[in-house]
């Protein structure tokens, strides 16, 4: 996604609930990636993880900064809201949108290109590791060290 942006392009970030740790981490990740690509973050607001809130925020961002080339969203629901806002603004096809979580509803939009990318953090494995760790602690074993699950960027 960052590769499709040119240095100096304007981008916007719609983050989750500002007090949520995972939301903050995702925002910081977006910021780092955009800094690396040389893109300019012109707007950053919370969509509170919700589709309609993100839709309102995205519509306002597009109104205030018509030059926005990409909108990075903290989850896929908010990405769906951003897609609707881009379409309502008559900008379909000119704004890259990224989500997070790889939910099933985002699939048709990855196929059509309305959403450029999402991230799959293998929620299934996260759950398995969590339960394994809990069982070990219950059996009196020492808690295992932190484990890492892969995060894949999905673009198709």
């Amino acid at each position: 996604m960052a590769r499709q942006l040119k240095p100096g392009d304007s981008v916007a970030i719609i983050e989750g609930i500002p007090t949520a740790f995972n939301g903050q981490q995702r925002r910081l990740g977006f910021e780092d990636a955009m800094k690396a690509a040389g893109a300019r973050i012109v707007a950053e607001q919370s969509g509170e993880w919700e589709m309609d809130k993100a839709n309102n925020v995205a519509a306002a961002m597009l109104g205030e900064h018509p030059d926005i080339k990409a909108i990075l969203c903290g989850n896929d629901d908010m990405a769906l809201g951003a897609v609707a806002a881009v379409k309502a603004a008559g900008r379909a096809g000119t704004v890259l949108i990224a989500g997070f979580d790889n939910i099933s509803a985002i699939r048709p939009l990855l196929d059509s290109g309305a959403v450029a990318a999402t991230a799959d953090q293998h929620g299934g494995e996260l759950a398995v590791f969590g339960i394994e760790a809990a069982l070990k602690i219950l059996h009196g074993e020492a808690p295992p060290a932190d484990q890492t699950t892969p995060v894949d960027v999905i673009t198709k």
Binding site: P18, A43, E44, Q45, S46, E48, E50, M51, D52, N55, N56, V57, A59, A60, M61, G63, E64, P66, D76, D77, L80, G81, V83, A84, K87, A88, A89, I103, S104, A105, I106, R107, P108, L109
Partner: protein, 319 residues
């Protein structure tokens, strides 16, 4: 003394002035807020709140309150997603099912509240949770992308620039106002809300109008859910959280009394404009999340305070 007709139009002027001031404020604070494009975007954004606030106004006038409308909108939007995507139902079928479901849930609110004599605040607070839970059950808590099958309702129409949903919402507001001020049903609602024992003594059975008004509010919440789903192109089981508070704020800003017996659907529309402009404007100037909440709360209190002052001045014959 100022003649009544002039005083009434004075109220509309005052409300339009509040809205214009708000829009002007955001216009000065941002670059592109005062543009035809931004106002059309606003118009196409508000049909959901318009129809839900119309229902809320009628419920408040009869002396009740409906906290479940946001959840009902979410439930009906979820139903639309399920029947269109999973059951391949046509759009019109889905809409009719949503209206029927909304009306049924609303009627249950009304029947429980009226027949068991439980305050509607409590019944609809319970229904807020029930309908939201049902929405999660129905969708297995998953968002569904619907796309073109629903979007037509919210797409701007050619040269008009507004969506069919907006025109339908205008019709609903007009019908709501006519029902309120020109029909027997509407006069019953005001009479019951103003003084229920007196209404009963003068031969009105308050039960039927009360149940009907809750069913109507539920049906309009269902319609609002359809509009919301159509505008987003997806059905979101979380949709409509907090809409009840926006609708109550819109009605109250429009001068509807929370104790019943007084209110106007058209003035609620001004309230909707204020609430929606505030939401869009705060996002446009890039306000932070905490600032948005503080500003929204202040604006609601200020708008109602202004109305209270205006009424006091009116009693003294100043306005």
């Amino acid at each position: 003394m100022i003649p009544a007709a002039l005083r009434k139009s004075g109220q509309y002027v005052a409300m339009a002035a509040i809205w214009a001031a708000l829009a002007l404020f955001f216009g000065l604070m941002s670059h592109n807020f005062l543009s035809a494009r931004a106002f059309l975007a606003l118009a196409n954004r508000i049909p959901t709140l318009m129809v839900i606030s119309t229902g809320m106004t009628l419920v408040l006038i009869v002396g009740g309150i409906d906290l479940s409308v946001g959840s009902i909108a979410g439930l009906c939007g979820a139903l639309a997603g399920v029947v269109i995507v999973d059951d391949h139902a046509g759009f019109l079928t889905a809409v009719l099912l949503c209206l029927a479901l909304g009306a049924s849930v609303g009627a249950v609110n009304g029947i429980i509240s009226v027949c068991l004599g439980i305050p509607s605040f409590i019944v609809t607070l319970g229904m807020l949770e029930i309908a939201r839970g049902l929405s999660y059950l129905l969708t297995h808590s998953q968002t569904k992308y619907i796309g073109a099958a629903v979007e037509g309702l919210s797409d701007p129409m050619g040269f008009l620039g507004v969506s069919p949903a907006f025109l339908i919402a205008i019709l609903v507001v007009a019908a709501g106002q006519i029902a309120l001020s020109r029909t027997v049903f509407g006069r019953y609602l005001v009479a019951i809300g103003a003084n229920e024992p007196a209404a009963r003594l003068s031969g009105i059975d308050p039960r039927v109008p009360k149940i009907a008004v809750f069913a109507l509010a539920g049906m309009l919440a269902g319609l609002g859910g359809v509009f919301l789903t159509s505008r987003l192109g997806s059905s979101d089981p979380n949709a409509g959280i907090g809409l009840e508070l926006s609708a109550i704020a819109a009605a109250v800003i429009g001068g509807t009394s929370l104790t019943g017996g007084k209110g106007s659907v058209v003035k609620t529309l001004f309230g909707v404009l204020v609430v929606a402009t505030l939401e869009a404007g705060l996002a446009q100037i890039g306000a932070s999340d905490p600032m948005k909440r503080v500003a929204t709360g202040l604006a609601i209190i200020l708008a109602v305070a202004l109305d209270a002052w205006r009424q006091r001045w009116a009693r003294r014959g100043w306005v």
